[in-house]
Amino acid sequence: MENEPLLNSLQTGFPETATVMGSDWPEMSIESTQLLEVIAKLKGSDDWDFNYLFCETCVDWKTHFTMVYHLSSTQYRHSMVLKAKVDREIPQIESLVKFYKTAEMLEREVYDLFGVQFLNHPDLRRLLLTEDWVGYPLRKDYYDPINMIKL
């Protein structure tokens, strides 16, 4: 599907969520509690068939985190962006491992660098940093006087 019809069908499919056109693909914003339900619908539906999670990351907006999921369909060749708002004090969101196996490593990376807790993740450990590392470097308030180079 092209972006326009996809946007329309998403808006009809999820009337209560805000779906707008981003710079590349339709963007849908949801609350973190809705995640599993929305993903199940997006992946399970024959119209969309979003079976391919090609990017999963997090953005620190200082007031809250946004988990950004880039989804695509290998069948219809359309893509979309799913954004879930995560509380900054208690950063918790459901894991997508049971839908996409690639999420296991991607979520470990996000956990490592942002400190977002993924519920029901099979093996949530530090990935890039050592196990005894303190803090989450990609947060905006992270400060390390030794290793960080300020330009």
């Binding site: 090609f54 060749r77 991607l106 196990e131």
Partner: protein, 371 residues
């Protein structure tokens, strides 16, 4: 990163492959649980070369940050730069001159060839045949010479700037590329004789490390790894960018999903890259090679994502801009990261020797995984 262990609670031996190991081609560390020679489980331990490029980029301007991306997948440095430039150009709404687009694509394909040749040589070396490495470097040297003349560097070229390319091509560029094409076409048969048709090589790769199409999708595999499993995922075809819109080429697909299929995809891709270069090399349009842009680049508020094909698979460049001179958040979706996550699934039940062949055909570049 986790700490070293000797044995599992069940009493199986844990073998530390890496961080310094000849076949990981970098500081990758794999914990493999083995029973005799059979691998029961594999746990990749990465981060030894993590430089936090994403965090660094947050304090670099839009002209500067491109250079740090050459250090991710250093074998597709040009494509990494290309991805960043495309994203910035998308944000700035800059029209890139056609000449620059064609040059970018030619250099991209040359980079892909160089990367695949290095991969081919090192795969053969991992499997114990030491000679093909030198045969691969014979042709690769011609490419790096071309790069040196035009881009000023042989590996991390940094040739692309937002709006075009940094400098015009060297006057000898076209002649040398044509020479290379003639040389490569006469030698590709030698490659197949040396490695592809070798019985031992075929025994070592056929039926090893099978990745089904469904698993390739679920693990988010891209590039030749996924195309070996029959998953069509060539970003040059799906989201044609730059000069790829106007040229004829085939997406290489194999369906077996084993090491040999991945091998064949890359081998055939090399020939396809030569095909692409042949179409473009005589048709480099005259004109500007760099669009006029402001001295200080400022991206509008918004989010920009570019998917493009590097030698290893799909690179995603995700820039979140708050309207300033530096990106607010930048994320590189690297192909090696996702491909590595499928390794455990592919290697279970195989022998230690197969780890080398599977890892070799995944074509991992460690800085690309760690970033």
């Amino acid at each position: 990163m986790r700490n070293v262990v000797e044995t599992t609670p069940e009493g199986n031996m844990v073998l530390n492959v890496g961080p310094q190991h000849p076949s990981t081609h970098g500081v990758l560390h794999l914990f493999i649980t083995v029973n005799g020679e059979t691998i029961l489980n594999l746990d990749p331990n990465i981060g030894y070369i993590h430089r936090s490029i994403e965090k660094m980029c947050e304090s670099l301007s839009y002209r500067q940050f491109i250079y740090s991306t050459s250090r991710m997948d250093y074998l597709s440095a040009h494509m990494n730069n290309h991805g960043c430039a495309l994203t910035v150009e998308k944000g700035l709404q800059v029209e890139v001159p056609v000449r620059a687009e064609v040059i970018r694509v030619i250099i991209s394909e040359l980079t892909r060839l160089a990367s695949h040749q290095l991969w081919w040589g090192s795969l053969a070396m991992d499997l114990g045949a030491l000679s093909p490495f030198f045969y691969a470097f014979r042709e690769r040297e011609m490419i790096t010479d071309i790069m040196e003349e035009t881009c000023g560097a042989r590996l991390t070229m940094n040739y692309i700037v937002p709006g075009g390319v940094m400098a015009d091509i060297h006057p000898d560029f076209q002649r040398k590329v044509k020479e290379f094409i003639v040389q490569f076409k006469s030698k590709i048969g030698e490659y197949h004789e040396l490695v592809t048709n070798n019985v031992i090589f075929q025994n070592r790769t056929k039926g090893i490390g099978i990745l089904s199409k469904e698993d390739a999708i679920s693990y988010g595999c891209t590039g030749p790894t996924a195309r070996g499993s029959g998953l069509s995922c060539d970003m040059r075809k799906i989201y044609p960018y730059s000069a790829y819109k106007n040229i004829q080429f085939n997406e290489i697909l194999e369906t077996e999903g084993d090491s040999f299929a991945r091998y064949m995809v890359r081998m055939r891709e090399m020939e396809e890259s030569v095909n692409i270069i042949e179409q473009l090399i005589d048709n480099i349009p005259e004109g500007e090679f760099l669009a006029k842009t402001k001295a200080v680049l400022k991206l509008p508020k918004g989010e920009f994502y570019t998917r493009l094909e590097t030698a290893r698979g799909e690179l995603g460049v995700y820039i979140v801009s708050e309207g300033g001179t530096t990106p607010y958040r930048i994320k590189f979706r690297s192909p090696g990261f996702s491909n590595l996550s499928a390794l455990n699934h592919m290697i279970k039940g195989h022998k230690i020797g197969d780890l080398v062949s599977v890892m070799g055909t995944l074509d991992l570049v460690i800085p690309d995984i760690d970033r």
